[in-house]
């Protein structure tokens, strides 16, 4: 039910149970010629399915990133939108009509030509069937072909972040026309990307290079994604040379891996953020002073350090430092005295009991919750940690049956994606029940403002109010941590955690 790409990737964990931990001899998979030139990547979970328009699982997108294309793609360096299947685009003066010119000579993996009908089909499938990303088209009135090489999107209101909406990840992938009728998209794929989906089973997913890829055939013959749930096992496999790449690195090992010659480790600040949310429907957490007291009682440095061993940046707002839209605003420094005063002012009798929902699906929530419990204990708040399986967790979040919870959101590029759905009155992800007319108005303004500087100004204002009201209690932005075999080249670690093996070359 969570719309943007949440960390709420329910399927990933459930499937991790069925994924056996690597260990098999390196099966280079069929097709693709010489097996020695296949990259073996260790990932933590099995994809739940391969329909890009339906799945919300990160494990699926790790694979799909290499199989499908979108009209535009984020630049690996700064995540600004660059041409992909669309080579150029024009916006009408009123901002209500976007014309995309499509690339020539692109073919799907089955050999069929790519044209505007495929784009119209793909977008309308998402809109008409109200699939998980349909909200990204909320301002789109129609998607029409104008000849074989042009697609026109007509909007109901100016949407400055339209490119981010249709290009930020492969959930907006272009499928061939009638793909849903011709193929079983949950297990099959027919994209325009650099690799074709060869096979997938309970231990691995195998991709083979697509020789006719429009940007030139990839350097390797194929990619095998092996599911290795245990971070320690994934790391060992990398050190032994059984796999050449992994994103399943235990944070506590980051430091010691720095000096390890068998492993090349890289980190980069991600666009994810982790937060605590309190339920406005449960007194006394509807009281702004109580929420502010809790915010004053926390030491974000210590929480980030505990969960990520230094590989996370404490942040009191959502948007990370490297982003243009970052706001340097930190009104809450740890101050137990002020926290106690605010609690008293709110008329709360201590000890106040607060349930904190966490899930073993994301172990850092359990770790962080224990630090939070210890810090809040000092100001007279007795935190009862409730460790749930993720399905139960989501049910209770949806039902509003909690005092507070701890979770994160990942992969946001545009400021609207950070704030709109989470903090607008009755927003789809506003589970906490926050409502502030001023914020609503600012978010509406920001969604249609076309000038970047002016937009930043608007979102800065909104963010300040959200932080001050403690709608979300923002804690930190973790780093992306990935490791690969020394000598592996052509791979770029990205803040949005997209994993693209198009140009990778084995040592």
């Amino acid at each position: 039910m969570r719309a943007t790409r949440p960390l709420a990737l329910a399927a990933a964990g459930a499937l991790a149970l069925t994924a056996c931990g690597g260990g098999d001899s390196v099966d280079t998979g069929g097709g693709g010629g010489g097996g020695d030139n296949t990259l073996v990547a260790a990932v933590s979970a099995q994809p739940d399915q391969f329909d890009p328009h339906v799945t919300t699982a990160y494990a699926s997108f790790q694979v799909l990133e290499n199989v499908y294309d979108t009209l535009v793609v984020p630049d690996p360096e700064d995540l600004t939108m660059q041409p992909s299947l669309a080579t150029e685009w024009q916006t009408s003066d009123d901002g209500l009509e976007w014309r995309f010119t499509l690339r020539d000579g692109v073919t799907f993996h089955d050999g069929s030509e790519f044209d505007s009908a495929d784009v119209v089909y793909s977008y309308n499938r998402i809109i008409d069937e109200e699939l998980s990303n349909s909200f990204r088209f909320q301002n789109v009135e129609s998607v029409e072909a104008d000849g074989a090489d042009t697609v026109v999107l007509t909007l109901s209101q100016p949407t400055p972040n339209l490119l981010e909406r249709i290009g930020s990840f492969k959930g907006m992938a272009i499928l061939p026309e009638n793909a849903a009728e011709d193929l079983d998209l949950t297990t099959e794929a027919n994209g325009t990307g650099p690799f074709q989906l060869e096979s997938s089973d309970a231990s691995s997913t195998v991709l083979t290079a697509y020789e006719d890829y429009w940007d030139g055939a990839p350097s390797v013959d194929g990619v095998e994604f092996q599911y290795i749930t245990e971070p320690a096992a994934a790391l060992t496999a990398l050190q032994n040379g059984e796999v050449q790449w992994t994103d399943n690195v235990p944070p506590q090992q980051i430091e010691s891996l720095g000096g390890d010659d068998d492993v090349e480790l890289e980190t980069t600040p991600s666009v994810d953020y982790w937060y605590m949310s309190m339920n406005y429907g449960r007194p006394p957490f509807d009281n702004r002073d109580v929420r502010r007291a809790i915010s004053f009682a926390l030491d974000r440095e210590e929480i980030a350090e505990a969960a990520w061993f230094g590989a996370a940046q404490p942040n009191q707002t959502a948007i990370p430092e490297d982003s243009f839209f970052h706001l340097d605003y930190s009104p809450f420094e740890r101050d137990p005295e002020q926290a106690r005063q605010l609690l008293q002012q709110a008329g709360v009798t201590t000890p106040l009991t607060m349930g904190l929902m966490v899930t073993d699906e994301y172990p850092e929530t359990v770790t962080a919750a224990q630090v939070i419990a210890s810090q809040l204990d000092e100001v007279g708040i007795d935190v009862q940690i409730e460790q749930l399986d993720f399905a139960t967790w989501l049910d209770r979040q949806g039902a509003g049956d909690y005092d507070a919870f701890y979770l994160g959101w990942l992969g946001n590029l545009d400021p609207a994606a950070y704030y709109q759905e989470q903090h607008q009155t009755d927003g789809p992800n506003n589970y906490q029940g926050y409502s502030n007319p001023q914020v609503d108005q600012l978010l509406q303004q920001g969604a249609t403002e076309t000038d970047d500087e002016a937009r930043k100004e608007i979102y800065d204002q909104a963010a300040k109010i959200i932080v001050d009201d403690v709608s979300y209690l923002y804690l930190y932005n973790p780093d992306v941590v990935q490791a690969w075999a020394p000598g592996l080249s052509g791979y770029q670690i990205r803040a949005d955690k997209a994993i693209n093996f198009e140009n990778v070359e084995l040592p």
């Binding site: 090992q253 210590e302 505990a306 630090v371 210890s374 940690i385 460790q387």
Partner: protein
């Protein structure tokens, strides 16, 4: 009818050794020492069981005085002191949140033992009652009760416990309940088998023939004489209950963080085994030691409580 007094249950055993040579008469039938003291005495002569009991007494004392003994609170987080190797300040080192592992092992003893005793208590009371009724009355009572027990027994133990926890939600109390339910059939079976052997004994029939009520028969004659295997089972089950609590906590279903439990500490320490062995080692040792001692005590009790062995031992034999 003023016939010969019904021999007390333990007469054939206890009369021999110490009572020998005292004046004959009705008192001769009474043991010179209470039976439990004799049992303890015999146990003390079994070195392994004696050491195991001592260690267990130590662990129980540690669990009782945990707050006093623990140098630090179990949940005092101090991230800057994380992952320190064992030292004088922290004899067992510190964990990934900078908590003192010695303190957590000590406080974990209370959690583990409470769950263990509670679980075995539940299983002991309910299971023994069911076994007693089934064995004593036989026929349809036996059939009905034992078939239900067979059904419970058909589930793998951990699976059944997980099912109970899935319904009741995780936590220490529910963990005890879940483990208790799992062990009910074992106690029922052991008790029933023992009762079947006892209920046709001469003293039971004699007592019945003088008009003793079923209640009296069960409580005065059948249960005391059917008890030894149940006592042994209790000790061994305690070992398994501690282990089961650790397993369920390891899976995240038992004791919830930040409360210390050995199984939970083991689970938390697992990810650090490469860089900080002490996180998992000490709770692991605690589980190992406790389970081993309960098992050794169980073995010792079995030897001591077996009438034939006991006669031999009491007579000075080996």
């Amino acid at each position: 009818m003023t016939g010969a007094p019904v021999p007390p249950p333990d007469a054939p055993v206890a009369g021999q050794g110490d009572a020998k040579g005292t004046s004959p008469g009705p008192t001769a039938l009474r043991p010179a020492r209470p039976r439990w003291r004799e049992t303890l005495g015999l146990l003390a002569r079994n070195p392994t069981a004696a050491v195991a009991s001592l260690v267990l007494v130590g662990i129980v004392l540690m669990a009782i005085f945990d707050e006093t003994l623990a140098p630090q609170g179990p949940s005092e987080v101090s991230v800057q002191d994380r992952l320190q190797s064992p030292s004088w300040a922290h004899p067992f080192g510190t964990d990934d949140l900078g908590r003192d592992i010695l303190s957590r092992v000590i406080l974990g003893a209370g959690v583990s033992l409470r769950v263990g005793f509670l679980a075995v208590g539940i299983a002991l009371v309910i299971g023994t009652l069911i076994g007693l009724l089934a064995g004593f009355y036989g026929r349809w009572v036996d059939d009905v009760l034992m078939r239900v027990m067979d059904m419970l027994f058909a589930f793998p133990a951990v699976l059944l416990a997980i099912a109970v926890l899935a319904v009741r939600g995780p936590g220490s109390g529910n963990t005890a309940l879940a483990i208790g339910i799992v062990y009910i059939p074992i106690f029922a079976r052991v008790t029933r088998a023992s009762v079947l052997g006892v209920r046709e004994e001469v003293y039971v029939r004699a007592s019945r023939s003088v008009g003793a009520s079923d209640f009296r028969l069960l409580t005065r004659h059948v249960l005391p004489n059917a008890a030894p295997p149940i006592i042994v089972q209790t000790s061994i089950s305690l070992a398994f209950a501690v282990l089961a609590e650790a397993a369920l906590s390891f899976l995240g279903l038992g004791t919830q963080p930040p409360n210390p439990s050995w199984g939970l500490m083991l689970a938390e320490g697992r990810g650090f085994i490469d860089i900080a062995w002490w996180l998992a080692f000490f709770p692991g040792m605690a589980i190992f030691l406790t389970v081993l001692c309960f098992n050794l005590l169980g073995d010792g009790l079995r030897d001591v409580l077996d009438p034939r062995q006991r006669t031999l031992m009491a007579g000075g034999g080996r």
